[in-house]
């Protein structure tokens, strides 16, 4: 394998990884925009999405992989609604810290349930797509599964973009992000918009989990690190900026795989956090600035 192929392979892997980071981060940035809070349970929705996809496939052999993802995404969306009404709604008038703490508590509860339901050292989701290997350019290996993950993530992002830009509900969501008071004067119920943002973010994170499940071993405690990835993506792309999250996610995925593949896997996190500190020193409002969704 030549140096060129190695770099190309890392770029392909980085794009696939980044596309999933995008899904988690977009939900996070929606929450930050509409609810003005850091949702710590976001990473746990992603974990739950992956495990429920696995469980749906185990449960019945007639269920194929896309159906399993749809089932898990629907269940996790309800979990998002639950987290909103149990954790966030009772404390939403109490500033920034109380909702963070209630979502931390709910995240711990979700993680504990996952550890009890799926004990042991992690699970692997088996799909038929994982065995098909293609070599699109040179010696680069791309499985159909990775291709599918990337394409599905980008399609979901495109659908979300259309939803936010073209539909009445999407416009209402954007209006709530920009100014909650005047949005409610225009007849938009901000309560519904908050719940909707929460459900959408859980939906997207669970889809990300279901899509990335077949690529890695899934473990119950992967939620928190996914949350930090989402934070980093949002920082690169700007708070509440959906197209920015797309760029930021792909940049983060590429950065991680390129540093890991070409330099040393041990230094990946140090380098990523170092870049974050640099960005915050040089451009404190995020690399692409926050423009609203």
């Amino acid at each position: 394998m030549s140096q060129y192929d190695l770099v190309m392979q890392q770029i392909v892997n980085g794009l696939v990884l980044g596309s999933v980071y995008v899904l988690i981060a977009v939900g996070f940035t929606l929450c930050l925009g509409v609810l003005k809070l850091i949702n710590v349970a976001q990473g746990h929705f992603y974990m739950l999405g992956a495990f429920l996809t696995y469980q749906a496939l185990e449960w019945n052999t007639n269920i194929n992989y896309p159906m399993a993802i749809i089932i898990s995404v629907l269940i996790v969306s309800f979990a998002g609604l639950f987290v909103h009404y149990v954790g966030i709604w009772p404390v939403q008038s109490r500033g920034q810290i109380a909702p963070i703490l209630t979502t931390v508590a709910l995240a711990f509860m979700i993680e504990n349930i996952a550890i009890i339901c799926w004990p042991g050292s992690g699970r692997n989701i088996e799909t038929a797509l994982s065995d098909n290997v293609r070599n699109p350019f040179g010696q680069v290996h791309v499985t159909d599964q990775r291709m599918m993950t990337f394409v599905a993530a980008i399609c979901l992002m495109a659908l979300l973009y259309l939803f936010l830009q073209r539909t009445r509900v999407g416009k209402a969501l954007r209006a709530t992000t920009q100014n909650q008071m005047s949005a409610s004067l225009m007849g938009i119920n901000p309560e519904y918009m908050r719940a909707l943002a929460m459900v959408l973010s859980a939906f997207l994170a669970a889809a990300g989990g279901g899509l990335i499940g077949p690529l890695f071993t899934i473990v119950p405690n992967m939620g928190l690190s996914a949350l930090f990835k989402a934070m980093i993506v949002v920082l690169i792309g700007g708070m509440g900026n959906v197209p920015g999250a797309l760029v930021g996610g792909l940049i983060l995925g590429l950065m991680e795989t390129l540093i890991g593949g070409l330099w040393s896997a041990a230094w990946v996190n140090v380098a990523v956090f170092g870049v974050i500190i640099l960005i915050l020193i040089v451009r404190p409002k995020g690399l692409l600035g926050s423009k609203g969704i």
């Binding site: 149990v86 954790g87 810290i97 931390v104 550890i115 974050i276 500190i277």
Partner: protein, 361 residues
Amino acid sequence: MAKARQTIPILILVGMAFALPHMWDSPYYMHLMVLLWIYAIFAISYNLYLGFLGGFSMGQPAFFGLGGYATGLITTKLDWPTGVGFLVAVGVCSVAAFIIGFPALRLTGPYFVLMTVAVLGIVGNLSNTLYKVTGGSSGLRDIPEPVIGSWNFDTTNYYYYLALGFLIITYIVVQWLIFSRIGRGFMAVRDNEELANSLGINPFRYRMIGFVTSAAIAGVAGWLYAHYVHILDPTVFGFNYVFDILFMVILGGTGTLPGPVIGAFIVVFVPEVLRMAAEWRSFFFALFMLVMIIFMPLGLWGFVKVQQGRYMEWKAMRMAQGVPLGLPRYLGFISKDYWSTLSAFLSSIKARFSKETDQET
């Protein structure tokens, strides 16, 4: 008289704390108590910045671990005495906070949170990556126990007194700081930054003082921890510590002096009570936290203070009416009051749902 009424309970509590190792002959619980005092110092350091300056940092364990690693490296690799290790730990934490503070304290809101997350992430990952110095994930071993003169703090009971002594000193220092001119400046910056600035209080300078002091106290806690457990590995930089001390401060009472100590009791002993729940323990602990945060917004100490204020008000009212006092009557009054609050809450939920169904039809 008023002074005595305030100081006597404190003296009784401190006396009980000092007598505890003689009354409670259980090595396991003594171990927990030592950890509790260390966590209480750590939580006080966190509360100094969160409660009195209003800055939500998620990077406090970075200073805890940094202090521990500084003294650990000094005492194991160089064989220097632990007293020097203490000075180095506090010094390293202060300098690190000073350097980090320059970019970080100019940021606000979520950006500051992210900055502190990044600081903790980078320090934690470095402790793992620089394994030739720190021992990596297998840990920095054989950190000696502290020796002061001819006293060797090698047993749990001796260490208990050391940790308790440090806690009392920290508490007094923080109390002095909060009631001094600097502490008033902290609270002015927390409550209204523009107003404070117009009155000649430089917000950045006061934030820096608070941040560095808080980091130095976290370094003290890290020093105590390192010499107590004798081994350090990268898990001391874990994000679980952030949530633990955050829960201590919030459950005890943010921005109050005894709050973090009370919170440390909750966070250390409630999981012990929940031991019977076996594998569901962390679930029920999280549930307990959730309920506490929702129903006690000011924390346990804040709740006590509010109740005390209401009792005083009620007492004054009864005195003015010339009706004899009595605690049972007060409890009746307060339970009626709580019942009305609860029923108002329930009816507000009912009204909310009926309104929503009206809109849909």
